[in-house]
């Protein structure tokens, strides 16, 4: 398997250009509860990084922190810095809408809008209000091709998105995010609601996407994390326990907690 023949840079030796997201002592409080505690990690560019951990350990919150989606919860508080492209996105003057177009997100359950396939994919672009019809057409086609969905839907672009199967819908969600050409793609358990074949499709898709996108994925499926991700972070009760090459983490974890988790002693 490709698990062992991929060359990966060690996380400690990353040059500044190779870092997509640099998180420095990030703490998040949601509804008066400390969810993330002083997390610092550097997420390498053009690779797949998995975040694993028990339910409620803060994985999703970490993901949401990267495009400031935690702000949807009325009672939230974030401290620490998240650097992307030399900017701290937690700054007050950050344009959150533009940040979210640069950092795409796909959720656990496919959530297509009650519109046509075409409108779903072009939704983000239409909001920017600066694209002609032709540009939109091109962008939609490109996004659907990149999401490996084009051949299946090109005949029915203007039919409601609800008619697609679960796996197709999830790829549509990826296409919807890709249409905005994000630098980073956040995937929150993208395959947990899908059957094995659809999961395989999405995993292959992620492999092809990482050539030009940095992917951060939350997953409960440790086989999946080991199979497709280059790096894996283990979070436990809001703290980053271990973050290293996937091979290393799954074959030779340094910390006892990690070992307990991946061998199924808890969680």
């Amino acid at each position: 398997m490709k698990l062992f023949n991929t060359k990966r840079t060690s996380l400690k030796k990353l040059s500044p250009e190779q870092i997509a997201v640099d998180i420095e002592s990030l703490s998040v409080r949601l509804n008066q509860k400390k969810v993330l505690k002083k997390i610092s990690m550097r997420i390498p560019a053009f690779s797949i990084t998995s975040v694993i951990g028990q339910s409620g350990c803060g994985k999703t919150t970490l993901l949401n922190a990267m495009n400031r989606m935690n702000e949807i919860i009325p009672d939230h508080q974030t401290t620490g810095q998240i650097w992307m492209d030399g900017r701290d996105i937690n700054q007050r003057r950050e344009n959150v809408s533009r940040l979210r177009t640069n950092v795409g997100m796909v959720f656990q359950r496919p959530n297509p809008f009650p519109m046509s396939i075409y409108e779903n994919v072009s939704f983000g672009l239409k909001l920017q209000n600066k694209n002609t019809r032709r540009q939109l057409d091109d962008a939609v086609e490109r996004a659907l091709i990149n999401a490996a969905l084009w051949d299946e839907v090109k005949q029915r672009l203007h039919e409601p998105a609800g008619i697609l199967s679960g796996g197709q819908q999830q790829r549509l969600m990826i296409a919807r995010a890709l249409a905005l050409k994000p630098k980073i793609l956040l995937l929150d358990e993208p395959t947990s609601a899908l059957d094995p074949l659809a999961t395989l499709f999405i995993e292959e898709l992620m492999q092809s996407l990482k050539k030009h996108t940095t992917i951060v994925m939350v997953t409960h499926n440790m086989q999946q994390a080991a199979r497709i991700s280059d790096y894996t972070a283990f979070i436990h009760k809001g703290e980053l326990v271990e973050f290293t090459n996937s091979d290393k983490l799954f074959t030779n974890p340094k910390r006892k907690q990690t070992e307990d988790y991946i061998t199924g002693r808890y969680g």
């Binding site: 177009t101 959530n111 009650p114 939704f123 909001l127």
Partner: protein, 521 residues
């Protein structure tokens, strides 16, 4: 029967609830049927009979009459007569023993007058002016068409003259108002012009009156009426089935397009229908944005704190406030405070005659909007609650601001519920009477709120309303069968207006629901 119906308690529960449902649907159905039957009688044709009786002085009396119905049990009969002296219809209910009713052997015609009266007569003939004076022609379709054509042309001419006279009279009034002595020559010329026009008018009126319908009353007295006063002439005893349908349709059309006559006891209801529809549309345009925005604020923007809870409680309770209270509030705030201020700011020159400072359709619509606001807010919030969080998050994750998310995702998905709120508001506003009586609805309004004089829409005007017309009909219905059936016909129309508005909104709701059906995912 239900599969669970084998137990005794179940049996009782099933039968009790089924009985309750049956009673309910039966009563609803009977209300509808009652109004339908009573209202339809306004468009029905009643037989014309000969009524003979003796006056207290012993003098025999013979008249044609329309017989409404005879109650065999009581032995009373209700008749509609035409009083030639008073020139109006009269309704009498008499004992059958006092009166002899026979079927006429000759053709008796019913003349439907423009003013709503019915005149009965036989031996019709037409008087028409021609080159050598006036000629008498037998009544026939050909001759009456000819006469109608001539009358139509005369009336056309008359209309032209009247419209020419209008501005002249306005100018005359203006000249008279100026205190300083006006230009004598100009004044002279104006008076002369008015004089000529008026003489033309008199001439035309005289010519119009030359076309007459002659007939005989039951006692053989000759009578004649100017033809232009007669809307149509029917022999109601000899109507075929097809005639009944077609003239019934004509009556329905007149009911919808005519103005009320004789103190709202006959004629049509067009001003009331128009007023009702205009009121509902104005109210919808006011209440929908306000209600939807309030619901959006409460659900999407306001935090979940005590103030919001208090606000929600107030709104829900507002729905239970008696409508007359809203009427008093509308009168106090809108008419007396806002209307008076508007007059002081914009219509200073017309004071002390108030423009907006009196009840009018604008204030009525505002009051109704206030009355239906809770309904719209509650229904809209219900719809907003149904929008899945996942879709909202999805939109935000694609870079939508909160406003864009609400516009593109939340509002379309909630739109069926918003339309439902609109339906409920319309149904309530179209049927409400009590507050309207205080803020602008009247029994009779001489002008429509929309007409051909600048600025075309006169929202300060009082208006007529179907519900108010029904309310007024109650006072006539005791002693006037025609007015009573007109009241029921108005009821029927009111029900139909609400039904049509509701079905329109339901259709829209269905369309929207189909388009934004997120649940099919």
């Amino acid at each position: 029967m239900s599969i669970l119906g084998h137990r005794r308690s179940d049996f009782i529960a099933v039968n009790l609830s089924a009985t309750a449902a049956a009673i309910l649907s039966l009563s609803l159905l009977s209300i509808l049927m009652y109004i339908l039957v009573k209202g339809a009688s306004y468009f029905a044709f009643f037989p014309t009979v000969i009524a003979q009786w003796e006056l207290p002085s012993g003098e025999p009396q013979i008249e044609y009459a329309q017989q409404y119905h005879s109650d065999a049990g009581i032995g009373e009969v209700t008749l509609l007569l035409y009083n030639a002296v008073k020139q109006r219809n009269q309704q009498v209910t008499v004992d059958q023993t006092d009166i002899a009713i026979t079927q006429p052997s000759t053709a008796v015609w019913t003349l439907y007058l423009n003013n709503g009266n019915l005149v009965f007569g036989h031996k019709l003939s037409l008087s028409m002016p021609d080159d050598n004076g006036v000629s008498l022609l037998p009544y026939s379709a050909e001759h009456s068409a000819k006469a109608k054509h001539a009358i139509y042309q005369l009336q056309q001419k008359r209309r032209v003259t009247v419209s020419a006279l209008g501005p002249l009279q306005v100018k005359y009034a203006e000249l008279r108002r100026i205190i300083i002595s006006p230009d004598a020559a100009l004044y002279e010329r104006l008076v002369q012009k008015i004089d000529t026009q008026q003489r033309i008018l008199q001439q035309l009126d005289w010519e119009l009156a030359q076309y007459r319908l002659n007939f005989e009353l039951a006692n053989g007295e000759a009578e004649s009426l100017a033809l232009y006063n007669i809307e149509y002439i029917l022999n109601t005893n000899a109507l075929s089935w097809l005639d009944r349908v077609s003239f019934g349709a004509l009556k329905i059309w007149n009911f919808l397009s005519d103005t009320p006559k004789q103190g709202n006891s006959t004629g049509g209801v067009f001003p009331a229908l128009f007023g009702t529809l205009l009121l509902v549309f104005l109210m919808t345009f006011m209440v929908m944005p306000l209600g939807v925005l309030t619901a959006l604020y409460l659900h999407e923007y306001a935090g979940n704190n005590r103030l919001t809870i208090l606000l929600r409680t107030i709104i829900t309770n507002l729905a239970g406030v008696p409508s007359i209270v809203f009427g008093v509030f509308g009168l106090g705030l809108f008419v007396f405070v806002m209307g008076t201020s508007v007059d002081e700011w914009f219509y200073m020159d017309r004071l002390p005659t108030p423009t907006f400072g009196t009840p009018g359709i604008l204030w009525a619509a505002l009051t109704m909007a206030l009355l239906t606001l809770p309904v719209v807010i509650v229904a809209t919030e219900e719809g907003l609650r149904q929008v899945p969080d996942g879709l909202k998050k999805g939109a935000m994750a694609l870079g939508a601001t909160k406003y864009e998310m609400i516009r593109n995702i939340v509002l379309p998905i909630a739109s069926p519920s918003i339309v439902t709120g609109g339906i409920l508001a319309i149904a309530r506003a179209a049927g409400e009477v009590a507050p309207l009586l205080l803020v602008g609805a009247v029994m009779y309004a001489p002008n429509l709120p929309v007409d051909s004089t600048f600025p075309y829409v006169h929202l300060e005007r009082q208006f007529m309303h179907l519900g108010v017309l029904v309310f007024e009909g109650v006072f006539h219905s005791q002693n006037n069968i025609n007015a009573s059936s007109m009241m029921f016909a108005t009821c029927l129309l009111l029900i139909m207006v609400v039904l049509v508005l509701n079905s329109l909104a339901s259709w829209l709701r269905f369309k929207l629901k189909k388009q934004y059906d997120w649940q099919s995912n």
